[in-house]
Each structure stands twice: as structure tokens, then as C-alpha cells.
Symmetry: C2
Subunit: 299 residues, 2 copies
């Protein structure tokens, strides 16, 4: 299946599920709800939930079993953006073409809206229509991916790296935590829900790791070459904060080469998965996951 | 069993478990770890984990199965204190006799330390030595208790109530969310882990609800009558922020009466539990839970 078709079908489902899960409890209203709703519906690309659902689709699982996990993942991503944008953190006032959460609702509500989204994500996972065993695998994996050994550690490392020059290895490690872990969770969650055969686990992990690095390198490149209208967020922020980035370490051309390398490596992992299926006398169509990597190519 | 003996035995276990679970992963070190460790070990009374373990003990369950949940609960409580103390929230610089987290580590790390503790709490629940079914019950209950319909909503209502006079009913509702939900989780989690008979569920809920209200009324009273040396936190803050409190709404004498009422009501719930056991030809010793309510009496 082509990604453009899949996205056309699934993105509206994700948007609807995000709002449905946010507002299902009647007592929950007022400014906190508004602040959470504002950032959740501010128009992201929904790469993470789409990647999760695309993994289920590719492995022949039931998409219906994946929406709670997909929404939980987007809740976590959204909370991280709200907290990252705070004055005490990156102090950003523009996100997805709109004023950031604290600009609209104040810092206090922005902190609490983030806390609320983070906490509710685990409620959603616990309500996924899958077995208790799978629910626990999802809770454990998301907590690890998003927690103080995962995304939160990446955010700390990212902040502490401001103003100092990191080695490429150190930069990669920061990225793997800060953005890579959630993308890896997306693929892992999809594989749990769709009962991926054990022989392809390591290739799925390779795919998501390369996907995550490509994703971050592109983000670094666009911060240099993009403009605020295209991206909906301020550009040149990395240089302003004196952050280590791929273009800063490798030049822009070098960063584009690194991006190409990661894209190829991700596709190689998909080829390995196909080979495993072929050896078992089965077939698998990885075009969807391949198309998603191609989205990360510099246009 | 008397609470003083139980506390003497279990508080050191809880302290050890808190640090053990925080630092079990080797890669996790540096300033984020320090910031999390600082607030976790700043010397709380550990009422919530003790209440959870006391419930297990009372119901004849295995304490060994409760430490992860007890630690998770204290992680959540600690994160909420760190975020509540932030300049954008209550702007408090003293907590448990020590400078608050952001005073020591900066606002950025304080926000992230809170996020880290909140997230890791769910990892701990998922690793509890209980069945998958029970793990999911714990995850669901903690996410609901701490989330945007629970504690986070209470915090928002508390902030929004500053400067305006709430009715007693509204004040009770704020307290039930802000502090009551986590105390209710403590008793609920204990009852799940210890396989409480279904007939006492409603009485356990009553007990924890009255316990939570008594807890908050005492907190309000001490903010008026206590001093900073005894409490380890600034007093008179409620009046300064013009918050609705029990003493403000009912006078100090009226607040003390309300406290007495909640303490009695909590004990009545324990008597109901004993009656249920008696009717089944069994016995139960509720002294531990009764002693814990007595701790909340004005001395």
C-alpha cells in the first residue's frame, strides 16, 4: 500500500481519536481541557501515530487495536512539545504556525496541560483492546521510551549540550533519546499489537532507529534551510542557541549525505524483513514503511 | 498491629526502595538523576506508600508485592510537589525544610525531573510482582487518580480558586481531586494487591475518602497554626495567596470540628469492614488503618 493513500484514510481517524479520547469523560472540562485540546489539535503531521498504524498494517494486524496506543503516543509527543517550549526550556513562542501553549494559556496551565497529557497516555494504553500481557508490554515500553532514561534524558542532554560542541557520536546519542525513542516505540508498539514474528524484531528495531536518526537530521537541516512559513515554527533556533547539529558538525552537504545514509539503512532493514518472510514461504509488503522513510528525504 | 511499629519497620524499606528503583539503570546518571534524587530523598513522611502497605498488611496480603506500587505512588506525589512549587505555579522556595527543586537545579531541570518521576512511576507499576491483570488495574487507577480528571484537575481548580471565595462543597471537590485521589489510590492499590473481598470495596473507598479530607483539613489548619520550623515549609501561604481553606470558610474552630468529623467517619468505615468480616465468620485487625487516621488529629 502507498503511504499517501494510507495517510488519507488514517490521518482523519487519528485526529478524531485524539479528540474523542481527550474528551470522553464528562467531568473533564474548563481551561485545562482547552489547553490540552489546543496543542493536541494544533495540526501536527502525526508521524508517530501513522508510523505505529503503518507497522500494524504492514504486519497484517488489526488497525482497530492500535488507535489507543497511537493516541497515547501523540499525547506524549504533544506534552513534550508543550514543556520544551516553556520559557524555562527552549522559550519558543511559535509552534505549528500558532502561538505556543504557554503564550495562550500561561505557564502554569501549560505545565499542567503537559502533565495531564503525559498521565492520560498511560490510561489510554491500559484501555487498548488487546490482551493484558500486551497492554503491560506497551506501558513498559512507553514509560521507558519517554522517561528519565529515554526522551526526558535526551531533553536534558540537549539542553546541556547548548553552547558546547558535541562529537558526532554524542550528538547521535542525544538524538536517539530525544526523538528516536518515541519513533522506536511507534514501530515496537505496532509489532506487539500485530504479533510480529520474533525473527524480525531486530530488523524492526534497526528500521526505527535509522528512521529516527533520519528524522532528526532532516529536522536539523530544515532549521537551516527552511523558513518559518513552511515549517510553522521559528527557524535558525539551533544556531541561536548554539546547539550542536548535523549541519554544524558536518556542513550542510555532509548532513544531507548522513541523511541519505540513514534512509538507505532503514530500507535495508525492510529488505531483511522481506527476506525473513520469503524464507518462511510468506510474503510481506513493506512499501508503506518504505514510503514513510522517503518522506524524510530532502526535497 | 500498631502504626508506630509498622512505620518503624516499613519506612526504612520504603526509603531504600525509592532510591533502589530510581537508580537501578546504570546509564541513568548526571544532573537529571540528581534532581530526581534530591526531591525523592528530601525527607517526606511517606504517608501514601505507608497507607498502601498498611492496607495490604491489614488485608493479609504480601507486602513484598506492594513496594513497586508504593514507590510509584511516592514518585507521583514527589513530581507533583516539584511542579507545584515552580515559580509559574505556587512559587515556593522551601519544602521539607530544604530549598525547592528549582531553587537548587533551575526551573528547566525541575520541570524535567518532575516529568521523569511521573513517567517512571508507570514503569514501576508495570514491573510489580503481581499478575498482568492487577498491573493493568494499578496503571489505570493511578493514571486516573493523577491525571487530568484527578490530581492535575485539582491543581488547576486550586489555582483558579485563588483570590475567589469557594463554597464548602466546591472546596471539598478541589481537595478530593488535589490530595484525595492519590490517598484513595493508596488504599485501592493495597486492596487490589491483597485481593480484598468485593463486599468491603465501598467501605475502603469511604475510608480513604474521609482520610483524604481529614488530611487536607489538617494541612489547612497547620498552615494557620504551624510554624516553618515544625513543618519544614513556609506557613501562611494560603492566606497570602488568598486561597479558600477550611479555616477561612469555617473559622479555625469550625475546621477542627470538620476534621474530627472526617476522622470519625473514616473509623466508622473501618467498623463496617470489621462487621463484614465478622458476618463471614472471619476476623480482621484494622488498628493499623485506625492509627493512621489518628495521626491526622490536631495535637
Amino acid at each position: 500500500m502507498e503511504f499517501s493513500l494510507f495517510q488519507q484514510k488514517e490521518k482523519p481517524q487519528i485526529e478524531a481519536a485524539l479528540v474523542r479520547h481527550l474528551s470522553k469523560e464528562k467531568e473533564f472540562e474548563g481551561t485545562l481541557y482547552q489547553a490540552m485540546h489546543y496543542s493536541l489539535t494544533a495540526g501536527g503531521k502525526r508521524i508517530r501515530p501513522l508510523l505505529l498504524l503503518a507497522t500494524i498494517q504492514t504486519l497484517g494486524g488489526e488497525l482497530e487495536q492500535g488507535y489507543e496506543a497511537a493516541v497515547a503516543l501523540e499525547f506524549i509527543h504533544t506534552y513534550s512539545l508543550i514543556h520544551d517550549d516553556l520559557p524555562a526550556m527552549d522559550n519558543d513562542d511559535l509552534r505549528r504556525g500558532k502561538p505556543t501553549n504557554h503564550v495562550v494559556y500561561g505557564e502554569d496551565l501549560a505545565i499542567l496541560a503537559g502533565d495531564g497529557l503525559l498521565t492520560q497516555a498511560f490510561e489510554l494504553l491500559a484501555e487498548s483492546p488487546v490482551s493484558d500481557k500486551k497492554k503491560i508490554e506497551l506501558v513498559l515500553a512507553l514509560a521507558k521510551a519517554a522517561g528519565p532514561n529515554g526522551m526526558v534524558a535526551g531533553q536534558v542532554a540537549d539542553m546541556e549540550g547548548e553552547g558546547s560542541s558535541l562529537s558526532l557520536t554524542a550528538l547521535k546519542a542525544v538524538h536517539e533519546k530525544k526523538t528516536g525513542e518515541l519513533l522506536t516505540f511507534a514501530v515496537y508498539a505496532g509489532s506487539v499489537i500485530a504479533n510480529a514474528p520474533i525473527e524480525i524484531e531486530s530488523f524492526l528495531l534497526q528500521y526505527s532507529t535509522h528512521f529516527g536518526l533520519a528524522f532528526q537530521i532532516l529536522d536539523d537541516i530544515l532549521d537551516v534551510t527552511g523558513n518559518v512559513d513552511e515549517l510553522g515554527k521559528n527557524t535558525g533556533m539551533d544556531a541561536q542557541l548554539n546547539k550542536s547539529t548535523y549541519p554544524a558538525l558536518l556542513t550542510l552537504a555532509g548532513a544531507k549525505e548522513a541523511l541519505e545514509y540513514e534512509i538507505k539503512a532503514a530500507k535495508k532493514s525492510l529488505a531483511e524483513i522481506e527476506a525473513v518472510f520469503l524464507k518462511k514461504g510468506k510474503s510481506i509488503d513493506t512499501q508503506l514503511l518504505s514510503d514513510m522513510v522517503d518522506l524524510l528525504a530532502v526535497r
